[in-house]
Symmetry: C2
Subunit: 243 residues, 2 copies
DNA sequence: TAGTGGTCTAGACCACCCT
DNA sequence: GGGTGGTCTAGACCACTAT
């Protein structure tokens, strides 16, 4: 009842209140109030309470045991970058300032490998973007991505630097929400070493990625090479839950 | 009503039928029947249908657009190893035979770093296990893990090789369901090169991990070094959904 | 305007955990 | 046995998408 009558669903109000008020006063493994008592507290039905608790459990903030209760989870030391984030978001989350030095930006017919990754017919036009990404003005990675011109529409102005590709794609209604990634270790080749001004043959993380929007269209593919001494991947992985 | 009166929930029966029958006859981006028509088809309430569809969406097999419908997602080329899996499961999933060559297995007081990772007081006893993991008898990685003796109980017999640590932990009621991982690139040191019989200073992927069971207890920590030429990480990442 | 998924109610029974 | 979360029903209204 106390929730603003605005457009936010009730379960999100309950979620926000639980997260900011209830969880703040509890220790790990402390039990939360039962679903039935939360119904009374918030004046909502049980399904609404369960939707909020389901979201909390999905975030890993609580865990639930049938027949026993809902409990505060131990905090994860890792910033969950299991989430799909852009390089810019990633760097900002680490308290640094992201930057980009554009090496190339051309419109070309999709090469066979790119056409295959993006599910395009050969010859379909794509934008190829090659950039050195920086954090606090220090080079962090070399990034080469391809985006179908069709998904960009007119969201990209011709001779204006692209600071965050994902912001551009969001304006074009093609924000990536899912990406398949392959991560492997390697060493920089000579050209890469020169572009990033690192020692020749120093270790790097290579990430190949195909990103999809909400409708499942492949909207971006490419690969990045990260300096091993400046970049690592932190992620929280889970076992597939019930079914 | 047609569902077996057994213990499987109705929504799982609906899920299984949708996955094996309906999805098999549809192409990517084809619409599934609406929730209301599925209610009639299966003779269940809307919530039951939605639970099944929610599970399908969580698996990435369908996507849902409010006001529009539920649609078949494009298949992901990547085997989703976003899931927490053991090395053995991982290798078997790739069609190879996993193996282990035990280098050390001792019971020691937890070193400070390990005690910190596992949330134990210093001096708490832990089992240290060091193994070369193999796939089809070829060395793949060097693994060093620590497990609190308290969580193992008597699930581990003293002088019997441990084929799959996760099977042992499952018997002990401490199956990891969530793990925080840090992945970075590096090169093998001389001892590691010798143990894995690979060239000196060749590239590797280093993975540090802290694994937790359903109750959030830290039940395992350790780090592994994978041969870069034989191992990569494939994962599907997603944007955090609503809230 | 008609149809879709998103939210929500007020009940109910079950499986499971604890004492 | 009493309490918990898991499942399920039969409704309802809302927000959004398409035509």
């Amino acid at each position: 009842m106390s929730a603003p009558t605005a457009s936010t669903p009730k379960w999100q109000s309950v979620l926000a209140d639980l997260q900011t008020r209830t969880l703040a006063t509890l220790e790990p493994h402390d039990p939360l109030p039962s679903e039935r008592s939360l119904m009374v507290t918030y004046g909502v039905s049980r399904m609404t309470v369960r939707e909020a608790l389901r979201s909390l459990a999905g975030k890993g903030l609580v865990y639930r045991i049938q027949g026993s209760g809902t409990f505060v989870a131990e905090p994860s030391r890792v910033s969950k970058s299991l989430a799909l984030t852009s390089f810019s978001e990633d760097i900002r989350a680490r308290g640094m300032v992201p930057g980009a030095h554009e090496l190339a930006r051309v419109t070309v017919p999709a090469p066979p490998a790119v056409a295959k990754d993006l599910g395009l017919s050969v010859g379909h036009m794509v934008m190829r973007l090659e950039r050195v990404r920086t954090a606090d003005d220090e080079s962090m990675c070399l990034e080469r991505v391809w985006v179908p011109l069709a998904v960009l529409g007119d969201a990209v102005s011709d001779r204006q630097p692209i600071e965050s590709l994902y912001e551009v794609m969001q304006r074009a209604g093609a924000l990536p929400v899912r990406a398949d990634q392959t991560i492997r270790a390697d060493i920089f080749d000579d050209e890469e070493s020169r572009l990033l001004t690192v020692a020749r043959r120093s270790p790097c993380l290579r990430v190949a990625r195909i990103a999809h929007d909400a409708r499942g269209r492949a909207v971006e593919c490419g690969h990045s090479a990260y300096r091993a001494d400046r970049y690592d991947f932190n992620l929280t992985i889970t076992r597939p839950e019930a079914t």
